[in-house]
């Protein structure tokens, strides 16, 4: 059974024609540390945006602001035209965001006391109030889609990192998100397990899923992304099509970073 996740998402959000996601002057501080210093970004439906940059540049914080795991301190975030940021981000707004934005974490964060199937069906039942049979069918289809049909009864500790991460992707997709955020999802993986995860993401992009991908995989950024954003010290230094940013960067900082990353 095939499920076209991106098509589901597209119909679900079809009523809104403007940009999926708009960020205007986003600031975030952790105490003295000024992590984001005015980030502007526009993500249209079906866009795949890659965010690259050195560690500590604020990439992960940016994703966490978009789904309100960390509320932004300043600026505006609009999701499908609705403002979701600002001082008064209350439970209702957060609910609006979490039902539209899926996130996959570097550390997988699977629920260790639940098997793969339960990991993918739990929130479907408790949040979307799907019937157990319906949630199970969807979970099975998604696990099949990420190539784990034979692992549905396994607990996370018995899965490899790559398998765990694919379960985590299925878990996020099960909620029919309109936008998927990927936070360095291959950084904790052994090299030989990276490809299986990137392949799933590539398929998702091909199907038209709107994605914001924080990554160190330059080959992936080059092949899959529509738009590359280079961040450093909390600002966007340079952005544009992958060929331009990765092959002909204008900014000195971008050149230096790419030099370090692409050397090996």
């Amino acid at each position: 059974m095939m499920v076209d996740v991106a098509a589901n998402a597209a119909t679900a959000g079809a009523q809104y024609a403007g940009p999926m996601l708009q960020l205007e002057g986003i600031h975030k501080r952790f105490g003295e540390l000024h992590v984001l210093r005015g980030i502007d970004m526009k993500v249209d439906r079906g866009d795949v945006i890659c965010v690259i940059g050195p560690s500590g540049s604020g990439k992960s914080t940016l994703l966490r602001c978009i789904n309100v795991l960390e509320p932004a301190d300043g600026g505006r975030i609009l999701l499908e035209g609705q403002e979701i940021s600002g001082g008064g981000a209350h439970e209702g707004d957060i609910d609006f965001v979490r039902r539209r934005v899926g996130i996959v974490f570097q550390q997988f964060n699977l629920f260790p006391h639940k098997n793969a199937l339960e990991n993918v069906s739990l929130a479907q039942q408790k949040v979307l109030e799907r019937k157990p049979g319906e949630a199970r069918a969807k979970a099975e289809a998604l696990l099949n889609r990420v190539g784990l049909a034979d692992k549905i009864d396994e607990y996370p500790e018995r899965l490899s990192g790559g398998q765990q991460q694919r379960v985590a992707i299925a878990r996020a997709l099960a909620m029919d998100p309109h936008v998927m955020l990927f936070d360095e999802v291959t950084s904790a993986l052994d090299p030989e397990l990276i490809k299986e995860v990137l392949d799933v993401m590539r398929e998702l992009a091909d199907e038209g899923m709107t994605m914001v991908v924080v990554t160190h995989e330059m080959a992936f950024a080059r092949e899959v992304c529509d738009h590359v954003v280079f961040m450093d010290e909390g600002v966007i230094v340079e952005e544009g099509p992958p060929a331009q940013i990765l092959d002909n960067p204008r900014e000195e900082r971008t050149k230096r970073f790419l030099g370090l990353v692409l050397e090996h």
Partner: protein, 257 residues
């Protein structure tokens, strides 16, 4: 020849291990131990529930619920900081005189148990609930932060995330320390003898007062050990099992920012 001499050893032996006194009073002491076990199980179960409630109140999020957190923390601080014996006296010596309460609460004799039994259940639950709340808290805090984030990012609210994701993991982690607390609780039920509940220590002491011989108390001690030593071994095994799991690498690395 020993320093005490044969008669010394014999006096010592009879003071603690007089088999005649032990067999004469076995049923009486065993009945007292039955009371101890019932008190332990009932108060233990209630403490487990009350402790979890306190721990969850303490973990409530947001600024608006600060007073609730403050009250929960104050409660835990107070009842961890005063002796159980004092709480027992506070309850048994005052509740009967709170005349606004109905008679059946002031002098409870539910399930055919005498009122000191229920005062004991109440006092132990109040005190051990506070201890167990701290154990649960340690368990909740030991669940990696990414678990709450993953649950919230899937749209669960705080209560759902606690119920389906955090607490099930936390409870598994704290079963051994909770069992340790239960062993301590069971021993502390002997304090309820001070308000005339005829549990095992009170029974042994009654025999001691009548016979000037401690063998019935020795018998009571053995009865305790029959329960507490296997429980302590069980705790050891559970901890060893958890450590084996940990070394196999079940909880994955937590390094990333």
């Amino acid at each position: 020849m020993t320093i005490l001499g044969d008669s010394g050893i014999s006096i010592f032996f009879h003071q603690y291990f007089d088999f005649q006194i032990i067999s004469d009073n076995f049923t009486f002491v065993l009945k007292g131990f039955g009371e101890t076990v019932e008190l332990s199980i009932l108060a233990g179960a209630l403490s487990l529930i009350w402790g979890l409630v306190l721990a969850l109140l303490r973990q409530l999020p947001g600024r608006g619920l600060l007073p609730v957190r403050f009250l929960a923390i104050s409660y835990i601080d107070v009842f961890r900081g005063i002796p159980l014996l004092l709480v027992i006296f506070l309850i048994s010596g005052s509740i009967p005189f709170l005349t606004f309460l109905p008679q059946s609460v002031r002098i409870p004799e539910w399930l055919g148990k005498p009122d000191p039994f229920w005062y004991g259940v109440f006092a132990i639950t109040l005190t051990y609930g506070a201890y167990m709340a701290e154990v649960y808290r340690a368990g909740i805090e030991a669940v990696p932060g990414g678990q709450m984030e993953a649950a919230r990012s899937l749209g669960m609210n705080h209560a759902q995330a606690m119920r389906y994701v955090i607490v099930p993991q936390a409870v598994r982690k704290v079963i051994p320390p909770l069992l340790n607390d239960f062993i301590a609780l069971m021993k502390d039920t002997s304090l309820v003898s001070s308000i005339a509940l005829i549990e095992v220590v009170n029974a042994g002491q009654t025999v001691q007062a009548e016979t000037f011989n401690s063998s019935a108390l020795t018998l009571g001690a053995v009865m305790f050990l029959v329960v507490t030593i296997p429980l302590a071994r069980l705790v050891d095994r559970l901890i060893a099992g958890q450590q084996a799991r940990f070394q196999r690498g079940a909880p994955r690395m937590e390094s990333a920012l």
